[in-house]
Amino acid sequence: MSTPTVEKHSAALDAAELGGVKLITVTVRIRRFNPEEHPDPVWVDYQLEMDPKERVLDALNKIKWEQDGTLTYRRSCAHGICGSDAMRINGRNRLACKTLLKDVNPEKPITIEAIKGLTVLKDLIVDMDPFFQAYKDVMPFLITKGNEPTRERLQTAEDRERFDDTTKCILCAACTSSCPVFWNDGQYFGPAAIVNAHRFIFDSRDEGAEQRLEILNDREGVWRCRTTFNCSEACPRGIEVTKAIQEVKRALVTRRF
């Protein structure tokens, strides 16, 4: 038999829970866009009472749940793994679920926009199709020749270490949409696709490296990279994106990988 959980409240517990929590007034300035209402975007300010240790995503949730249900944004896991809520916060691409209010200067209005270079559909939601098309074009899956082995494909710890950094990608598009080359030419593969190609090119178990390198040798491939390091700065997983792109370039020149 189940008994409903009774929440025990005591003055002491409440005090402990609330101890140290000082709510501050935060202004969140969101670049909203709804083509059904107006053909141009607008900046809208929202005033919130928030704990500065809360995240930007909490602020967005508070707006959506308590002030304006029409606000639209993507979020899923809310713990920095699914890569849904990449957005431009105070002019920098970040994950709303990994950014604390106290880290983005809550004394001033916090500006939130959709990521750049992709079509804005509504408010903070962009059309991710071109981004994922570039990802698909580098064939982000294991390619092997010959018969399938009867046991798992083994690899040494050193071989695994070779591409460890690029396995961390969560496909949030923070890097690609921070790249000035991508802003100007959406045909460019973009950092995220190259990172995911790197993950397989340098995998000792994979045999499709030649094919992937040929794809990235393209006019819109790695050679468009200008090493501005915007991608490395934007990556919420701390992947050294520019380094990965340079390693792909080196592999193309030396044909060693």
């Binding site: 975007p41 079509t119 559909l121 098309q133 074009d137 959406g186 040929e214 006019r219 468009r224 193309l252």
Partner: protein
């Protein structure tokens, strides 16, 4: 509850580019206002020709850059610093230098590398910033013509220079 916001001039952000009026083709009339980036990657994006041109251009930029550092710094040193600086430069000075095949070669190499290095850099800038294919083609044609003209003229002068003119 919905906050009421009005579309006043100080909050409306004019879009950076004009709407195509085409939208995304979803059938929604509001779609016409959605600003599509001019060049997005789709399934129909053509596979380009498989050449190593971009790789060779990239390598050329690195290698010519290293050589140019030596050539240009040496050139500046001779022209501006050593032996009295700019005051010594004149027809006789240039004629004296070009009497030696070494300095002819130096200047020729510097001309070719600097022009190709610079125009390749401009080519990437045009590729990045020109939005329309026709604009890109025209700018690159213009730049290519200017490069060829300068390189050929310079080469002609270096080889046919007559000190007794």
């Amino acid at each position: 509850m919905q906050t009421d916001y009005t579309y006043t001039d100080d909050v409306v952000v004019a879009s950076a580019q004009a709407h195509t009026g085409q939208g995304l083709g979803t059938g929604n009339p509001a779609d016409a206002f959605v600003v599509e980036p001019p060049r997005t990657r789709t399934k129909k994006t053509p596979r380009r020709t498989r050449t190593n041109f971009e790789m060779l251009a990239w390598l050329f930029m690195r290698l010519s850059g290293v050589v140019l550092v030596v050539l240009i710094l040496g050139h500046l040193l001779i022209m501006l610093v050593l032996d009295g600086g700019v005051s010594k430069i004149g027809f006789a000075f240039v004629a004296g230098r070009w009497a030696s095949p070494f300095w002819q070669g130096w200047d020729l190499l510097m001309l070719w590398l600097a022009m190709l290095h610079g125009s390749n850099g401009m080519r990437t800038v045009i590729n990045d910033y020109a939005e329309k294919d026709s604009t890109r083609l025209w700018l690159k044609t213009l730049m290519g013509a200017a490069t060829v003209f300068t390189v050929l003229l310079g080469t002609l002068v270096i080889f046919t220079f007559d000190p007794n003119i």
